[in-house]
Symmetry: C2
Subunit: 674 residues, 2 copies
C-alpha cells in the first residue's frame, strides 16, 4: 500500500459508469422505449389542439406507449440494420366533462395526430392523478364540519394531514368518481400514518372536487406517536445497531452496458421500459447460448400487472380499503427516486422515468430505476471430489447477478421490486414490503383490555395495525425460444413398486400434461407437488427434450375472502395462483382497463372464460405472489423489509449447464492511479 | 486518485482480519466449543488404555462434545466472571468386535477418564467412517468377477472408480454392517458420476471388509462423458459468460469480532460449534435490545439434524438409494475446505474444523466455516413521504447481514448451508444444492426412444438423471427470552361481516391456539393459511403482547412415498413439516442415534408419540425444508445452485422495529496509504 489516493467511491462510480450510457436522443432507439418528455409534450399539444377551446376541461389520467404488435417488434429486432421502426403510438386516457375518453396518438409523423378517439361507457374509472388526490386531501382543512370535529377533539388544524382512499365498489348501481378522505395528526412526527384521527370519514366527489358526505361517528384518543419518527435527524440517542461501511469496487468497471434502454450483461440482453401504470417493464429478455452461438428468446414482456391489497377491518371507517395499487394509483406514478448507497449499492447505474401530469406535461422521476451487479457472495456451482485417489479436486464458481430495481410508494407502503438475472439463466422476481402500516386508533393501551375483535395487532398504545393482504399479479409473457409455447404441468405421482425381487414398496415419477385450453391451466398451488413448465413444443434439445423454462413459485397465499364479496369480484384475477392465456395485446392489466370502482366485468378471470386454445400458441402466464400480513410490533412504526419472490429457471432450455464454462472473475487487484 | 498503490485484496483482507481471531488456546473458552485436536488425542489415548491389548480392533465412528446440560450452560453464561466451566465431556461411539460401544469420556481432569461404557444392542449402526468407505470402494479392483465384468464391457480397469452406498433396511430380520459398491468410468473426465458402469452391484460386508455378494445383471453403454469435465484447466474454448471481478472493501475493517468460537456483530452474539455428524451448530444466539439495554436470548441451539435423500428408481441397482446424509455419512465429516473469493467472498473470515479419524486421531478440515458480512444491496427499510406539503421526506437504511457458511459434500452432492443474521432480528436459514446428479446409463440416445418409465430425465445421450428428494430437518431449539416457551398457531379465519350498514360481506381475522401437547403441534403446512409463532408466555411487551419469534416456511415439499415403505418408516420424522417436542438432551438427531440400517424405532416420530406437554416448557422445533428434484438438462454435468430457505423473524419480541434507530453505514472513502 503506497502513497495517498483518496476517492469518494460514489463519485468514482458515477465517473466510471456514466460514459456507458448513451445520451438520450430524439431518435427512438427501440420501439419499446417509453415515451420521451418531448413525446409527452407533443401528445399534449395534439390533444389540446383536438379539444380546442374546451381543452382546459381535459385531465390526463394515463399516457403511455401503445406498443407495436409483437410480430412487428420481432421483425424489427431481426432486421435492426434496416432501422425502420414500427409505428410509434401512444395510448391516452382523458377525463372530459365527466366522461372517459380513449385516444390513440400517432407519433410517427413530424406532427403527431390523433388516429382514434372513443368515449368509454363501461364500468370503472381511470387511474387517479396525483394532482386530484392532493386537491381532495386539501379540501378538509376548510370544511366547517371537519373544523368542528378537530376542535372538539382538542387538536390543532395546523398539524392535521389528510390522505385520500379509493372507495371501491359495493354493489351500488351508479358510480361517480369519488375518494374517501381520512385525517391524521403530525404534531411531533412526520409519521402521521401512526397517528390516525379515528372516526371521521369524508367523501369527496372528484368531478365536483368537493366534500359531499361527512360522517364523524366517534372519537378516540389520537395515539401519542412517541418514537415513531423515522428521520435520523429527528431521533435521539441511543442509536444502533452499528454497521460498518463497505463498497463494491470493480477496477475493470461494470460488467454491463446500457444503450438507450437496452442492457447487455454477461449472457443476457433485455430492454427496460417504464410505464405510469405498472412501473418498470422488462422486455425481450434473451440469453446467449454458448453452444449454439446465438441469443435465444426467453421473455417477451414482464411486469407487475396489478397489486391487490385488501384490509380486513369491516367497520364503516375501514371496510372499503381494498386497494388496486396499479389500476387505481399507478405503480409507475407511485415510483420514487432512488438514492445511491442506500436504495441501491454504490455500483448502481440509474435511469430516469417520465409520466404525464394531469395537465399532460411530462413529469420526471429522476433515478426511478437502478441497475447493479449484485455480489452477494453466492456460489454459482461447486464440487469437491474425494472419490479419485491421489487427486484433490475442488472446483467452484462464484456467482454474480444483475438486478433491476425500482420502488413504488403507494401512500404508506413501499414496494421494492427486484428483477434479478443470473448467468445460469434464471430470472428471480422479488418484492420487498416496507414502509408504514395502516393503523387504527383505539382507546386501549394494553392488549389485555381488548375483548372483541379489533381486526389487527396492538403495535403500540392506542394503536392497532390492521390485518391485510398483498397480492402481486405478474404478467409473464414468456416466449421460450420463440412465441408458440405450451404450458405443461408435471405432476409427481406415487406408484407401487412392481419390480420383481425389489423389497421397496413405492416411489414417485412424473406425469406431464399439456394444458390445451385456458381452463386446464388454472391452478391453485400447494395442493399437489408439481413442476410448472412453459415449453416450446417445436424446439428440442439434442437429446430430444422440449426446450422450456419453469416457474418455481414462492410462498403461496391465496385470497380467503368470500368469492362473491365485492372486492373479491373485482380481484377475481387472484382466485387462482396461476392462469395462462393466449397473447392478446389488449389484455395487459389483470384487473381490467378501468379499475377504480370497477365491477369485475373486465378482469383476467372474465377474459379467460372464453377458454381459448393455449397449446402451441403465443401464451402469457399470470402468476400471483401473495402475502397474508398479520402485523407484529416490529413492523411499527416503520416496517423492516419482508421479502418473497419466485423464479423462472431454464428447464431443458440448454443442452447442459450454461455456466459450465464460466470463469470466476479474476481476484481483484486494487490499483489507484492518477 | 493519485500515485500507485496496488494490493491484492484477498491478501489485504487476511491481514486486516486475522488479528481479530484469538489464537486457539488450550483453555476452553466456552463450554460449547467443539473438541480440540488435543482433546481428540486425549480421548483416543483414554480409550486405547481402556481397551488395552485389544485396542487395535477399535474403530472410532463418532467423537463429539457431550454438551453440558442447558441449565449449566445458562448459569455459566450469566456468571462468566467466575469462569468455572461446566464439566467437559465427550461422547464416543466405537465399533469393537462387531459391537457398537458407547462411551462417555470426562475431560475435566488432567488425565481423561471413561465415566461410562455401554454396549448398544438396538437396531442400526453408527456413522460410517471415511476410511472404511475408501476401503470398501477399493475392494472391487481386485475382485475376479468384477475384473471379468469390466473386461467383458471392453473397459480399462485403470479408469474405473468405485463408490459405495448405504444399503438401508428393507424388512430383513438380521442386519450386518454392509455397503453396496457401484462402478464408474473416468477416462477423459473426473466427473465419473456422469459415466456409470450400469448393471453391476457389489455388496461389501464392512466387518469382514470383503465383497460378499456380486451381481452383474446387465450391461449398457457407458455414457461418453464428453463435455462433462468441470475443471477449468481441462476445458476448451469458447468460455463464457464473462463476468467482471469485484471486491468488497471495508476501510474500517469488518463489523464483527470472533473470540474463540463466539461471534459478536451488530446487535447479535452467538457461538459456532462444529460436529462430525451435523456440521456447524449455532448456539446461544441472543440479540441486543436497544430499548431494554440488554441482550435477549433467541435460539439456544440450531443445526441440521438429518438430511433424507430418497431416489426414485425402483430397480435392483437403485432402489436402496435412500440416504440419511447426517446419520450415515456425517454432515461434518463430509464438510469441505472453503476457498476465499469463490466459496466465500473476499471479506470472509475462516474457521477450521476437526473430527476424529477411524483410528481416533484428530483430522483437520481447514477453513470449514466462513463468516462474512453480506452487502447484497438490500434495503433494510425505507419510506418516501409525499403526504406532507412542502416537505420532501425520503428515509432509507441499507441492509447488511452476517452469514455463517459451510459446505458438506456427501459423495456427489454439495450442500451449501447459510445461516444469515439480520440486524432486524431475523435469522434466515438457506440451503443451496449444487454438485453432481446421480445418473443412470441407458442405451437410448434420444428421449423419444424411451417408451417405459426410466425414472428420471434424459440429460445427455445414454444418461438419465434420476428423480429424487432432499429433506433437511432442522433442529431449532428456540429459547425466546428464556427457556419456557409455547408454540402458537395463528390461523387466518374467514368471517362474514356483521357490521350494520357495511356492504362488504367478508374479512379474515386471526384465531390463535397454543399447542398443549406434542400431537397438537404436528403440522402439514400449506393446507391452511397460518402464522407459526414460538412465544414466551411469561414475558410481555409494553402493550402486553407475548414476546415471540415466528417461523416463516420456505417452499413446502413433503414425502410422497408410501408411509409404510421401509425408507419412509426410517424417515418418519419427515411425515410432518413441523413438530414440536419438549427439550430433551438425548433427542438430538431426528433420525435417531444409529441411522445406518435403522428400522425407524428411534426417530422423532417415535419419541413424540409420548405426546408430552409442550405448553410453557422448554421446547424444540423440528422443521423440514424439502425439495422434490425433477432433474433438467441444465443440472448436467454439474448443477447450478438451487436455493431455498426459511426465516425466523421476531414477532412482538421487540416493542418496536429494532432497527428504527440504525444509521446506514457511512459512504466509504477509499484511501490507500503507505
Amino acid at each position: 500500500m503506497a502513497s495517498t489516493c483518496s476517492v469518494l467511491l460514489s463519485l468514482l462510480s458515477i465517473t466510471l459508469f456514466s460514459f456507458l450510457i448513451s445520451p438520450a436522443s430524439s431518435l427512438h432507439e427501440h420501439p419499446l422505449d417509453p415515451l420521451t418528455p418531448e413525446e409527452f409534450s407533443l401528445i399534449r399539444h395534439a390533444v389540446m389542439r383536438s379539444y380546442g377551446a374546451s381543452s382546459e376541461n381535459v385531465t390526463f389520467h394515463y399516457v403511455g406507449l401503445d406498443e407495436p404488435d409483437k410480430p412487428l417488434i420481432y421483425s424489427w429486432t431481426l432486421n435492426q440494420t434496416d432501422k425502420i421502426p414500427p409505428p410509434r403510438r401512444a395510448s391516452v386516457v382523458l377525463r372530459f366533462h365527466e366522461q372517459t375518453h380513449e385516444l390513440i396518438v400517432d407519433l410517427s409523423s413530424h406532427r403527431p395526430s390523433i388516429v382514434s378517439k372513443e368515449v368509454y361507457h363501461g364500468n370503472g374509472f381511470p387511474m387517479l392523478t396525483l394532482e386530484e388526490q392532493t386537491a381532495a386531501s386539501d379540501l378538509a382543512r376548510t370544511h366547517h364540519q371537519f373544523i368542528r370535529s378537530i376542535e372538539k377533539r382538542g387538536l390543532n388544524m395546523s398539524d392535521v394531514v389528510c390522505a385520500c382512499y379509493t372507495v371501491g365498489w359495493y354493489g351500488e348501481p351508479r358510480s361517480r368518481r369519488a375518494m374517501k378522505v381520512l385525517a391524521y395528526y403530525t404534531n411531533g412526527t412526520v409519521n402521521f400514518y401512526m397517528r390516525p384521527i379515528e372516526g371521521i370519514v369524508m367523501v369527496v366527489d372528484l368531478e365536483l372536487m368537493k366534500i359531499v358526505k361527512y360522517h364523524d361517528r366517534f372519537a378516540t384518543i389520537v395515539p401519542m406517536g412517541e418514537d415513531t419518527e423515522y428521520r435520523l435527524e429527528k431521533q435521539n440517542p441511543p442509536f444502533g445497531p452499528h454497521l460498518k461501511g463497505a463498497a463494491i469496487v470493480q477496477p475493470d468497471g461494470p460488467g454491463f452496458e446500457i444503450k438507450g434502454h437496452t442492457i447487455s450483461w454477461a449472457n443476457w440482453k433485455f430492454h427496460i421500459g417504464f410505464d405510469a401504470r405498472v412501473g418498470p417493464i422488462i422486455s425481450l429478455a434473451s440469453i446467449y447460448d454458448l453452444e449454439r452461438g446465438k441469443y435465444r428468446q426467453v421473455l417477451y414482456r414482464a411486469y407487475v400487472s396489478e397489486v391487490f391489497v385488501p384490509y380486513m377491518d369491516p367497520t364503516e371507517e375501514w371496510y372499503y380499503k381494498t386497494y388496486f395499487d396499479c389500476g387505481e394509483f399507478g405503480f409507475g406514478l407511485s415510483a420514487v427516486s432512488l438514492q445511491r448507497g442506500v436504495d441501491c449499492p454504490n455500483n448502481a447505474i440509474f435511469m430516469d422515468g417520465f409520466y404525464a401530469g394531469q395537465d399532460g406535461t411530462p413529469v420526471k422521476i429522476s433515478n426511478v430505476t437502478c441497475v447493479f451487479e449484485k455480489y452477494a457472495g453466492n456460489i454459482m456451482w461447486r464440487h469437491t471430489e474425494i472419490g479419485i485417489s491421489d487427486e484433490t479436486i475442488r472446483e467452484v464458481r462464484s456467482d454474480v447477478s444483475l438486478v433491476v430495481r425500482s420502488v413504488s410508494t403507494v401512500g404508506n407502503y413501499d414496494y421494492i421490486l427486484d428483477w434479478e438475472f443470473k448467468p445460469s439463466g434464471s430470472i428471480k422476481f422479488e418484492v420487498g414490503l416496507t414502509g408504514l402500516l395502516e393503523v387504527k386508533a383505539v382507546n386501549y393501551t394494553q392488549a389485555s383490555q381488548i375483548k372483541e375483535d379489533e381486526y389487527g395487532t396492538m403495535v403500540g398504545a392506542n394503536t392497532i395495525a390492521t390485518h391485510h393482504d398483498h397480492f402481486l399479479t405478474y404478467h409473464l409473457d414468456l416466449d421460450v425460444d420463440g412465441a408458440p409455447n405450451s404450458f405443461v404441468k408435471t405432476n409427481l405421482i406415487t406408484k407401487p413398486v412392481a419390480e420383481e425381487g425389489v423389497p421397496r414398496k413405492s416411489y414417485w415419477t412424473v406425469s406431464s400434461k399439456t394444458a390445451r385450453t385456458e381452463s386446464e391451466a388454472q391452478l391453485h398451488l400447494g395442493l399437489e407437488p408439481c413442476d410448472l413448465v412453459v415449453v416450446n413444443p417445436n424446439k428440442r434439445t439434442k437429446v430430444g427434450n422440449n426446450v422450456g423454462y419453469r416457474l418455481i413459485p414462492g410462498p403461496i397465499a391465496s385470497p380467503i375472502q368470500f368469492r362473491d364479496d365485492y372486492p373479491q369480484i373485482r380481484a377475481a384475477f387472484t382466485d387462482n395462483n396461476l392462469w395462462v392465456t393466449p397473447y392478446n395485446k389488449s389484455e395487459k392489466w389483470a384487473g381490467g382497463r378501468y379499475v377504480d370502482q370497477s365491477r369485475g366485468d373486465d378482469t383476467l378471470a372474465v377474459w379467460t372464460k372464453r377458454n381459448r386454445k393455449i397449446e402451441n400458441e403465443d401464451i402469457v402466464l399470470w402468476y400471483t405472489l401473495g402475502f397474508h400480513h398479520v402485523p407484529y410490533q416490529e413492523d411499527f412504526p416503520i416496517m423492516p423489509t419482508l421479502s418473497a419472490g419466485f423464479e423462472l429457471r431454464p428447464s431443458n432450455f440448454f443442452d447442459r449447464n450454461p455456466v459450465l464454462k464460466t470463469k470466476s472473475p479474476k481476484p481483484v487487484i486494487l490499483s489507484c492511479k492518477p
